[in-house]
């Protein structure tokens, strides 16, 4: 038991690589957990002093405030192209983008696919919460069939709005990516697994192995109109059926 307790304490300790600035996320939102995981991984790999993070447009727009690393805040969807520019300019830097599903898989579709296809030696953290959190809960490309959002008030009708897009599976068809995986955070076990995946993704970059993508099934209790606990159950029982967990590519 005491070993378990130790583990649990470790997860929620404020990582050295994070600043003291308060997160702007709603209570129970997984964005906060993911930020901590990235902080922990930067601590473990000792890379914060040579890392550049990319803050997207979305609920994580302020993420440049939370890392003790350099950051660039970029136009909606263009993170992978900006990451390309940074990495090509200074290959010694560790470059990661942090992007929502609207950012990465809708408006940034072209930039996301082509950075992966070039095998850019960058790490992409793709936060799939099946909704546009920041703008008030509109449909995302990942919104589930029949899911109610402010722009699908009767539920997503695939005849009108298509189906939830499995972007990581699309990326996995490419020859270049080194690591593509889908993870979730609905319980401690999965938080640990996500941490491992994020660490591997950064590690591959450090080793020059190329492009890695960690998709993380995430919650938006506010716009889903669910409690944090209900949100976790929803991810575990419903979302993972549409977006199965696990590694899609590992060419390490």
């Amino acid at each position: 038991m005491s070993a378990n307790l130790e583990n649990m304490v470790k997860v929620f300790e404020r990582p050295q690589s994070l600043t003291d600035a308060r997160f702007t996320y709603c209570p129970g939102c997984h964005h906060g957990i993911i930020t901590r995981i990235i902080g922990n991984v930067m601590d473990e790999l000792g890379i914060v002093e040579r890392t550049v993070g990319i803050a997207p447009v979305g609920c994580s727009v302020f993420s440049y405030l939370w890392y003790k690393a350099d950051s660039q805040q970029v136009p909606h969807g263009r993170a992978c192209a900006v990451a390309t520019g940074i990495k090509r300019a200074r290959p010694e830097l560790i470059v990661f983008s942090y992007q929502g599903d609207g950012d990465f898989a809708s408006i940034g579709t072209a930039e996301s696919i082509h950075a992966a296809n070039r095998g850019e030696n960058i790490t992409v953290i793709f936060v799939n919460n099946q909704i546009y959190g920041m703008t008030g809960g509109e449909m995302a490309p990942t919104t589930l069939v029949d899911q109610k959002t402010t722009t699908t008030p009767e539920g997503r009708d695939p005849r009108v709005a298509g189906y939830p897009i499995r972007f990581s599976e699309m990326i996995a068809t490419l020859d270049a990516p080194a690591y593509v995986t889908r993870q979730a955070l609905f319980d401690t076990k999965h938080i640990m697994e996500t941490t491992k995946a994020v660490k591997k993704a950064f590690q591959y970059q450090v080793e020059g192995k190329g492009y890695s993508l960690v998709e993380i099934l995430s919650t938006c209790p506010t716009n889903w109109r669910m409690s944090p606990v209900q949100s976790n159950t929803h991810v575990a029982e419903t979302v993972t059926k549409v977006f199965p967990l696990g590694d899609l590519v590992d060419r390490g």
């Binding site: 200074r90 072209a110 082509h114």
Partner: protein, 351 residues
């Protein structure tokens, strides 16, 4: 000075960028700037520098944002429809005060237009093509050697003021071949370090590149800082050429390729005893309003000639006000006015 070369305008811009220490170039193909892209594709990798054919102009300008933010000299080039796509990134670059060079080899518009030379993107370049209160420095070369000089200058000004600089040329200049003498290459390692760039937060607080301030007072301050920078640039960087203006009764105002053609028109007119001069703005932003205003006090007519429906004409009228007549002569559709047709227009205004 370096060796004498016979090059096209497009190639000269590319070669000048390399010599200015451009380390990363990103672009998407479009006519009529293909030779620029090709020169970079061949030569950048040979020098161990970055050439990427981007998936779109939006991606290319976003890559420029990343590389500029990381502190290296960087450039993209395109032609009109591609420059329209770049406007998102240009606005962000301006907001984040990132230095870079953007080349527009302008073609006929609007829409897909055609691939013939034109000056129809003047408004977009000088009045802010993207969203927000911002300006670029805009340089308008009229000859191939000047295209080289202004490209070198563009990188210097970009770094000095932390501002995106646009080279506004047209397809005629891009394709034209002339002998040029380019300066010796600058070693990028010899350029001053940029202490604001995202080079890794080692032994210092994190550097943040952004064009974002949620607090209206902070965003206002960001805008005030930009406006103050624009005033400094306006005070220090206005460039223009006057040709045979001293005793002129009529002045032609023309920029870029047409500026060069109008030099011949001035010579033709003077051979016929008509006292004509040329006023050629080189910085299209900041625009040389004051010099043109002074000139307008000594002439009765300022004739604007453009390959557009009359875009720079608005700036000429702002400068001249009611001090002289301000007729306009232009062609659209990618048609280049001939010296003879311009001379005929000049003759209409002889008093």
């Amino acid at each position: 000075m370096g060796e004498r070369l016979l090059l096209r305008g497009n190639e000269v811009i590319a070669e000048a960028a390399i010599r200015a220490g451009c380390q990363c170039y990103f672009a998407y193909p479009i006519t009529p700037q293909a030779e620029l892209l090709e020169h970079m594709a061949l030569n950048m990798p040979r020098l161990g520098r970055t050439f990427i054919q981007a998936e779109s102009e939006i991606a290319a300008i976003s890559m420029v944002y990343g590389a500029a933010g990381a502190g290296v000299r960087t450039m993209t080039s395109s032609s009109s429809p591609g420059i329209s796509l770049k406007q998102e990134g240009i606005s962000y670059l301006a907001g984040a005060s990132l230095p870079c060079v953007i080349v527009n080899i302008v073609r006929g518009g609007p829409g897909l237009g055609n691939i013939a030379p034109s000056q129809c993107d003047y408004f977009q370049a000088t009045k802010g093509g993207g969203h927000g209160d911002y300006h670029l420095i805009v340089l308008g070369p009229s000859t191939v050697p000047e295209a080289g000089e202004l490209t070198m200058l563009a990188f210097e000004l970009a770094d000095q003021y932390r501002i995106p600089v646009m080279i506004l040329a047209d397809g005629l200049l891009g394709q034209m071949m002339e002998p040029v003498e380019l300066p010796d290459p600058i070693d990028p390692a010899s350029l001053p370090a940029k202490d604001w760039a995202t080079t890794g937060a080692k032994g210092r607080a994190p550097n943040i590149i952004l064009s974002f301030e949620m607090d209206p007072d902070d965003l206002k301050q960001m805008n005030l800082d930009l406006q103050s920078k624009y005033r400094t640039i306006t005070e220090n960087e206005i460039r223009y050429e006057e040709y045979e203006t001293e005793d002129a009764d009529i002045v032609i105002a023309a920029h870029g390729t047409i500026g060069r053609i109008c030099k011949s028109v001035v010579r033709m007119a003077r051979a016929e005893g008509i006292k004509v001069g040329l006023f050629r703005p080189i910085t299209l932003w900041p625009y040389p309003y004051e010099p043109l205003k002074r000139l307008s006090q000594q002439v009765h007519t300022v004739l604007t000639v453009e390959m557009s429906a009359g875009q720079m004409w608005e700036d000429v009228r702002l400068a001249v006000a009611e001090r002289a007549a301000t007729p306009f002569f232009g062609e659209t559709g990618g048609i280049v006015p001939t010296p003879r047709s311009i001379l005929n227009e000049v003759k209409k205004h002889v008093r």
